[in-house]
Amino acid sequence: MQVTINNRPAEAREGETILELARREGHAIPTLCHMKGLLPSGACRICVVEVEGQKGLLPACSHPVQDGMVIQTHSARAVETRKTLVELLLANHPDDCLYCVRSGTCELQDLARAYGVRRRRWPAGLRHHSLDVSSPALVRDPDKCILCGKCVRACEEVMGVAAIDFTHGGSWTVIAPAYGGDLNRSPCIGCGQCIVVCPTGALRERSQLDRVCAALADPELTVVIQHAPAVSVSIAEELDLPGGQDFNPQLVAALRLLGFEYVFDTGFSADLTIMEEAAELVRRIKLGGPLPMFTSCSPGWVRWVEQARPELLPNLSTCKSPQQMMGAVIKSWFAQRKNLDPAKIFSVSVMPCTAKKAEAGRPEHAREGRADVDAVLTVRELARLIRQRGIHIQELKPEHADLPLGMRSTAGRLFGGTGGVMEAALRTAWILLTGEDSPPLRVAALHGQDGVKFATIEAGGVKLQVAVANGLRHAQTLLGEIAAGKHPELQFVEVMTCPGGCVGGGGQPIHKDGEHALERRQERINALHRIDDEGMLRRSHRNWAVNELYREFLGEPLSEKSHELLHVHRTPVLDEEDALV
């Protein structure tokens, strides 16, 4: 199909929307409610364009291109209409930009600037909803909501949780959980996927930056920090540097400059997780189940199973997540080695995740009334701190993390992307099952961002059937298939709550257009894969620091001491108020 867009001829594809054509041809059309890959909702109308011969303007995100169309994306009328729409959105929006965490990454602010909004056109008709700070993971500020509906769709269509929806109507419309309650009395799992799609400051992480800064200023405390595998491949983006590269050594240097006394790598405890989880898997296989065993490193998934599918709890690995294993080891083995009073250690973690904030606060992750991890920062919060100190991470000399808890295999790094935990686990389960240390290092079937991936690995009379669920919604699909008896021989399933795994977590950098989310996740995964391809130490069980931990302190995987520190008993979340469905 031949069309004309902004006076230039263009070849349109069958069935594509005006927006898709325009983007492909390099003409920018603003959107607020559009979500790539989902059906258009047409809620915001900011994408309207002028098409010759059409009386009204057409919404580019939902209108298909037709042969011969003559499109103007920025005709005077389209621009004027968009400006009016922005002014209308601002009519009941608080003038909070100076105080807003999204200042600079807010799409509404961008539009107001681009369309030259210089004054309030209508008297402020501000709403006064209360701030919802009930969740340990995120804050909901409905006064800043422009009702684009993206959070609702992320929660329902991307995650399969559906904790929130449009409620009430007309000027009273507000996005809220059922029963008008707060997020902590809803099925919300704290994944933060709603935050990364929100164009404004209406959803944000529950920040713990103040607590971390206070700890850093306290001379009594030894402040230590761990950072997760998916952090060093994404933080650059939040600091306006090109994505897809690993900044691990520079990140270590930056964390030291910020005043953290010890810098550890969550890859270490990812290796430790593999040691425990592989041993657990082999024990289950030998003792007859329950199988399939599901991974337990993704707290959103764990929380969802507890509240929505408690009958699956016996299938969930009893392993704590790498964050919590590290937390427990820091305040026990490390404290003992360094002769530190655990009460005087302030343990921080940087995570690509908001659900980790909730995880760190769970009672089973504390001993003697002390949390194993005292504060969790998202990638975004850490970037704020780095910017505040004027640190240019790309200029820093590379540094090594502190030993032994900074030592990791590249298998541990793979945890950051979908399929990574499985690949890492297979490498170690292999030697346990076959007695030979010659595992398949890469399992191509587990790569990529498909919803559910399967692989069967056979050698020496041993056959392992595994699956990887990339995102909670796909895990739900897989569970449905398992319940229908479709995968009777499945033994081990990796589940990551967020699309793409931790690289797509709710604590990751926010990009104003969600257009390239998939590609960005892939870039981050590729960076992790490169680290593994180039790595010398590619198996968790060969991490000497982990082995030293076993020798000196834990004994062996699944030992009594391991159980005390690294495993949990899982119990369903009681839903006395019927609030969690």
Partner: protein
């Protein structure tokens, strides 16, 4: 009729049943309780947030039981012209609740309806079965006080309670 019985009248998971189900449940229960919302959600295979979202969209649904004295304010055109907004404001002020809500002591609930159908008496409010015509904001206090007095008179005496417990 119980929630289950109402649900049983609507087999099938089609979303077309949603509004009729909510209406019938409200008819039966007097309001949409949390278990009612939850069971409708389960019955239709919808998230509770969705059912709640739809239900709150419509003014006809209420989510708290009616008070012993349901106060209904007519917001029809005639009543509006004669000052029903001020009457509603006075009621909200006195009862400290929004339309759709019930006071903590369970005595009063407040509702607005499009038109009671007694335009000649505007502005009109109904308190239970009693209709009050030509109401002014100033009269609101007295009307409510009457109800409170009646409630107090009906309340069992201390002696009666003791006797019942004995």
């Amino acid at each position: 009729m119980s929630i289950e019985q109402v649900l049983a009248r609507h087999p099938g998971r089609s979303r077309d049943h949603l509004i009729p189900l909510l209406q019938e449940l409200q008819q039966e229960l007097g309001f949409l309780s949390r278990p009612a919302i939850r069971q409708v959600a389960e019955h239709l295979g919808l998230p509770a947030s969705k059912v709640w979202g739809v239900a709150t969209f419509y003014n006809q649904f209420r989510f708290q039981p009616r008070g012993r004295f349901p106060v209904v304010v007519c917001r029809g055109t005639a009543c509006h012209v004669k000052g029903s907004a001020a009457v509603l404001a006075a009621l909200q002020h006195e009862l400290k609740i929004e339309p759709g809500a019930t006071t903590r002591d369970g005595l009063f609930s407040l509702e607005v309806v499009a038109c009671i159908g007694a335009c000649g008496l505007a502005p009109v409010i109904a308190v239970g079965d009693d209709y009050h015509a030509g109401v002014t904001p100033q009269q609101v206090g007295r009307i409510l006080a009457d109800c409170r007095r009646r409630a107090a008179e009906d309340a069992p005496t201390k002696a009666a309670v003791e006797e019942a417990l004995a």
